[in-house]
Symmetry: C2
Subunit: 243 residues, 2 copies
């Protein structure tokens, strides 16, 4: 009776670790958002799968718990890392009253790392990861974090920069960051990481504003005061005292 909360990385099978693959293979049932379960069809084979549509996160956790309570081992898959804005936390919360349910979190490659690799090496020094989604977090708190991260000269990685409904949040973020960082600070963004149509773009901080190319499948990277572009790659030096 075990639930593996499995991070499958950015997309393709090439980013799924052997440990994650094994957890999926040895489980009786695979639970997840339809799109992610589809991505690993080769691994699940004839195995029973249970899926829900987007945004039904709590529902999906209850589904995993229910299967587990029937005595099955469950692989609960999510994209990226299960622990970075992933399902590992809600799963623990939903299963709080069932201490006998054994939950094991299997890490995966999160978009900060996979997207960073596409652009070069933006996260070599201290960084902050912030989601611009204000669905469950007050926008004022998000603004505060953006400002403090900018003030601290952290490299900033933004998840969920836009959605169909949230179109101006990134522009506001750029505005706040520009109070502490030059408009020509090297930045970048990556779309469809590890999937068909993967694209990495290097640009400046001010070019992130009003940028229609950035959508909900994009991860945004904002350099610190030392970040530079070397041979087409976004690179943050590892220190402030030189190599």
């Amino acid at each position: 009776m075990k639930i593996y909360v499995v991070g499958i990385g950015p997309g393709g099978e090439g980013y799924i670790t052997p440990v994650a693959r094994e957890a999926i293979e040895k489980s009786d049932v695979v639970v997840g958002y339809t799109v992610y379960v589809d991505l690993i069809k080769n691994l699940t084979g004839d195995k029973e799968t249970k899926t829900t549509a987007m945004k039904q996160e709590v529902e999906r956790c209850r589904m995993a718990l229910e299967e587990c309570l029937k005595g099955k081992d469950v692989a609960f898959v999510c994209s990226g890392d299960a622990g970075v804005y992933g399902m590992a936390g809600i799963m623990c919360e939903v299963a709080e009253d069932y201490p006998d349910v054994d939950i094991e979190v299997i890490p995966g490659i999160t978009a900060a790392c996979s997207g960073g690799a596409v652009l070069g090496a933006p996260l070599i020094h201290d960084f902050a990861v912030i989601s611009l989604s204000d669905l469950l977090t007050p926008w004022e708190m998000i603004e505060k974090r953006i400002s403090l991260a900018a003030e601290g000269d952290f490299v900033i990685c933004l998840y969920n920069p836009k959605s169909k409904k949230r179109v101006t949040h990134l522009d506001r973020a750029v505005e706040l960051i520009e109070k502490h960082r030059a408009g020509d600070t090297p930045c970048g963004y990556v779309k469809n990481i590890g999937r068909d149509g993967e694209t990495g773009v290097i640009c400046t901080l001010k070019e992130l504003s009003g940028n229609d190319d950035i959508d909900m499948f994009t991860t945004v990277f904002i350099g610190n005061s030392s970040t530079k572009v070397i041979n087409g790659k976004l690179v943050t030096p590892r220190g402030y005292k030189g190599v």
Copy 2:
């Protein structure tokens, strides 16, 4: 003529992605810190390897560049993710004058993710990653970042919390964080992630201070104001508006 800068994850082969494995297998020579090259002995087989001792990062990059300039494909391996305090950045800097050298960064699982999974789900919400090593960064800058991250209620993940010479930096970090966060805030640390002797410990913020169990092979996690312990796991809820 290509250099793959490959993140091999926390340790065992089970955390090396197929993409990373393939890059190592198709390279002519493997370059890296002796300990990491040893970790992947099964993968390198009879392949030529070139290693250096600890701290000779620039030397190692030069070695990789030199092999590449001889016309070889090089797998330059590092632990965790190649882009998080990893070698991807220095490699680009060292090869700056050789724009024809093709550098591809292959992401791996960084200690924030692999360690977070051992403890449960501490990084479900916005987080900051900070290294306490002041070898290349002025300590005042590190202190500033710790304070701003604490003020912003970021979950904080500390890399390099201690070394043989740096024994009091973590105590000072806790002192700074306590100005913004309660002493009984749930925290945790993980030693030897993904390797023999892996240990995860959940404790409070104040218990991180003067803690002799924490060493240079430890990653430290400091919860935000919502982080809690659920059935022995460190869990940060995904939002401030409840599940």
